[in-house]
């Protein structure tokens, strides 16, 4: 049993993400979903239960957090770890070993179990979670979804009574989310208590017993899944929440008329380390088109986007812009990639400096206009690192506009975003499209695709079998690509 009694918390030197006067009891075997806008405090609740507050994050804490009658703040971390297993958002920084076997055993090694038991537990975990394929592999070579599975397996091997997941689906594709759901179903059937803080809600509707909606650090309302499903779409969006049922998400009725193509790819074949990643890709795109790119991990989406931007060397075939062939250098000039982790592409110490970074004679007027256009004027003096994820993304877009790039590639721009931020990114993309940019978006986000994209390219096994318009008529195909089931599961 988990009890939060009159809990308030505020992080040192930070106004948002705090909690005010939280009272909540979670009984054994319950599955509770915490949702709400970014910064509403849902992650903070998970940190209270796994002891990271107050032991890792400093701040002002009032009230008591009890797990099985024991106060969490009085227990050392390693004792909490035996009771409460945590899975986090970022698969890249959750593993500690280089090979998967040692990683699965990491938690139980720390518990100092005898070697014989270690081996048995690892075997048992492998079997229960069906991850035979992932044994004895180098973790650095796994996809995000596979890494997340190993992180889950490592916690599962410790066999805690309480599982705590903080936005576990943020970096996962649709198939991996399905598999995560199966794993959650398994632990639920074992009678474990599950706490999940999450933006993507649809995959949890069958699992959650209660849904806690937080606003500005307070519990606004607690729903049952039935009540929650009945919320009208408008109200749900007003609460800043993502779709509850993906089958209710629909593409527009008809697509906008398309002008003459400006970008043309002729017979493009891409190699990576002597392996052919994609072959014979041909497509054309017009100004203002927004093209979604989907496919499993390893299907060549990344290589394709890097080649498009002139970052990948090993490719055959022709890229034409306005009828003229573009070599790698020309593509590099013409295009810009907004990375999933934007931190890699921000170099300067203020937003304004960032916008003119590396440009010999920066056009100050253009810089100001662009900042105004993207609503960044108020932040021009701020250090990019102090901005929110969405604001950083806009800074990167501003850079691309100032550099006069006409071809933009977004890599997973909506991972881990709530409804408001997602709608904002969609608005930004639409504005870029109105300016006549050609936009490619690598994404797994069906809701986002329906709002922004005009077409979806599907890569699979080195080919591009599908090029589907995002319209009502193509709904069955789109659902297939994003593994949206027809809701028969209910």
């Amino acid at each position: 049993m988990i009890e939060l009694e009159n809990v308030s918390f505020s992080y040192d030197g930070q106004e948002h993400d705090g909690l005010h006067d939280i009272n909540l009891k979670i009984v054994d075997g319950e599955c509770v979903l915490f949702c709400g806008r970014s910064g509403c405090g849902k992650t903070t609740i998970t940190r209270l239960v796994n002891g990271l507050i107050p032991q890792f994050y400093q701040g002002e804490l009032h009230g008591r957090v009890l797990v099985d009658g024991q106060e969490i703040s009085n227990l050392p971390m390693y004792q909490i770890a035996a009771k409460v297993g945590s899975v986090f958002q970022n698969p890249r920084t959750q593993f500690f070993n280089v090979d998967t076997d040692s990683e699965i055993a990491f938690g139980i090694e720390n518990e100092a179990r005898p070697p014989q038991e270690l081996a048995e537990r690892v075997e048992q975990t492998t079997e229960d979670l069906h991850i035979q394929k992932l044994r004895s592999r180098n973790i650095f070579e796994l996809s995000g979804g596979e890494k997340q599975k190993i992180a889950f397996a490592s916690v599962y091997a410790m066999n805690p009574e309480i599982y705590l997941l903080d936005e576990p689906s943020s970096n996962l594709d649709m198939t991996s989310i399905q598999e995560l759901k199966e794993h959650l179903r398994l632990i639920k059937s074992q009678g474990k208590t599950i706490l999940i803080a999450e933006h993507r809600l649809y995959y949890l509707m069958e699992l959650a017993d209660r849904i806690v909606y937080l606003e500005k650090g307070q519990i606004k309302k607690i729903y049952t899944p039935e009540e929650f499903r009945k919320l009208p779409e408008v109200e749900r969006e007003h609460m800043g929440l993502r779709a509850v049922d993906l089958t209710e998400v629909l593409p527009p009725q008809k697509c906008l008329p398309v002008s003459a193509p400006i970008l043309e790819l002729q017979d493009i074949t891409l190699h990576y380390k002597k392996r052919t990643i994609l072959h014979h890709i041909a497509l054309s795109a017009a100004k203002g088109e927004v093209i979604g790119v989907v496919g499993h991990n390893g299907a060549g989406k990344t290589t394709f986007s890097r080649a498009l931007c002139g970052l990948h060397k090993d490719c055959d075939g022709q890229f034409l812009w306005d009828g003229r062939p573009m070599d790698r250098k020309a593509r590099l000039k013409q295009s810009y990639m907004v990375m999933q982790d934007v931190n890699y592409e921000l170099f300067a110490d203020s937003v304004e400096a960032e916008c003119s970074f590396g440009i010999r004679n920066p056009n100050q007027k253009l810089v100001t206009e662009t900042l105004e256009e993207l609503g960044l004027v108020a932040y021009r003096e701020r250090h990019p690192n102090t901005l929110s994820g969405g604001q950083k993304q806009r800074v990167a877009v501003a850079v691309s506009m100032i550099c006069g790039k006409n071809l933009l590639v977004f890599d997973e721009p909506t991972s881990g975003l709530d409804f408001d931020s997602m709608a904002q990114v969609a608005g930004l993309i639409r504005r870029l499209s109105d300016m006549g940019k050609v936009i490619f978006i690598v994404t797994h986000d069906f809701e986002f695709v329906c709002r922004t994209c005009s077409r979806v390219l599907h890569f699979d096994e080195g080919e591009m079998p599908d090029d589907v318009p995002v319209v009502m008529d193509a709904l069955p195909k789109l659902r297939e690509l994003f593994s949206v089931s027809d809701g028969k599961e209910r």
Binding site: N50, G51, L52, Q55, F56, P76, M77, Y78, I80, A81, V84, G85, S86, F88, N90, R92, T93, Q94, F96, N97, V98, D99, D101, S102, A105, F106, G107, E109, N110, E111, A112, R113, P114, P115, L118, A119, V122, F140, A151, S154, V155, M158, C309, L311, L332, Y336, M337, M339, D341, N343, Y344, E345, L346, F347, A348, F357, G358, N385, V399, C403
Partner: protein, 241 residues
């Protein structure tokens, strides 16, 4: 059973590796001449090939050979301040090179969990071991980060090459260290969190899926290392030759 699933190359106890680094530092320090320095590098190279690190070894030895030839040439041809300057610089370089090369091999062949258990066996304090383990784990992350940063630089028309560095040193350095710092502090936090929430701070002696023990290979390699050091000391002391 899974403990025996080591695929390629030699496996050494992390304690042996630490011991080798210690001996290597001493051997570099007491090396009587360039020939012995070179012999040390070759010995490390042989160790590297046992670990299956062919490419790394070949590059490292070739590079060192070039530096050696350069040193000999400078000693023979140059005079005056330029010579002193070069000798001071190269002297330091020769002392450090072998250790750096060995450290590279050790870092790339030691698993974090093996390292943790080995440190446990020698009763090293957890306060020291945990940050070291986080660091050991963080190194491969930098490689991944570097790939993204290179891409980002190219898109901003900053060349991530030696030429680019020489023509715009300030800007190139900024482009590398700003994003690295930003991602590093976040990654270090997240790694620490991932480890404490899985009980790394448990004071009980840690067990390990892979059993670490000092085998014949460990003893043999340590013997060779010690023998080399003693031989060097003898030469220096004038016992031999």
């Amino acid at each position: 059973m899974s403990g025996e699933r080591r695929k390629k190359g030699l496996w050494l106890d992390p304690r042996t590796k630490l011991f080798l680094i210690l001996i290597c530092v001493l051997a570099s320090m007491f090396a009587p001449s360039l020939a012995y320095q070179f012999a040390l590098v070759v010995l490390i190279a042989i160790l590297g090939t046992f670990f299956g690190k062919w490419k790394y070894v070949i590059k490292a030895v070739c590079f060192y050979a070039v530096i050696c030839v350069l040193t000999v040439w400078i000693m023979a041809e140059m005079t005056g301040t330029l010579r002193t300057m070069f000798i001071a610089f190269l002297g330091l370089f020769h002392k450090v090179y072998a250790c750096g090369m060995l450290a590279g091999i050790v870092l790339s062949t030691t698993k974090v969990n093996e390292f943790l258990s080995a440190m446990n066996r020698v009763h090293a304090p957890k306060k020291l071991v945990i940050p070291l383990a986080v660091m050991l784990r963080y190194i491969p992350t930098i490689q991944e980060d570097w790939r993204y940063i290179k891409d980002a630089m190219r898109m901003r028309d900053v060349s991530p090459s030696l030429g680019g560095f020489l023509s715009h040193p300030g800007m190139t350095v900024e482009c590398i260290y700003v994003p690295l710092m930003m991602t590093a502090s976040k990654a270090a936090d997240e790694l620490s969190i991932a480890s404490v929430t899985r009980g790394i701070e448990n004071p009980n002696p840690r067990t390990c899926l892979v059993q670490i023990k000092c085998g014949i290979a460990d003893w043999m390699i340590m013997t060779v290392a010690v023998a080399f050091l003693i031989f060097e000391l003898c030469v220096r002391g004038g016992v031999i030759g």
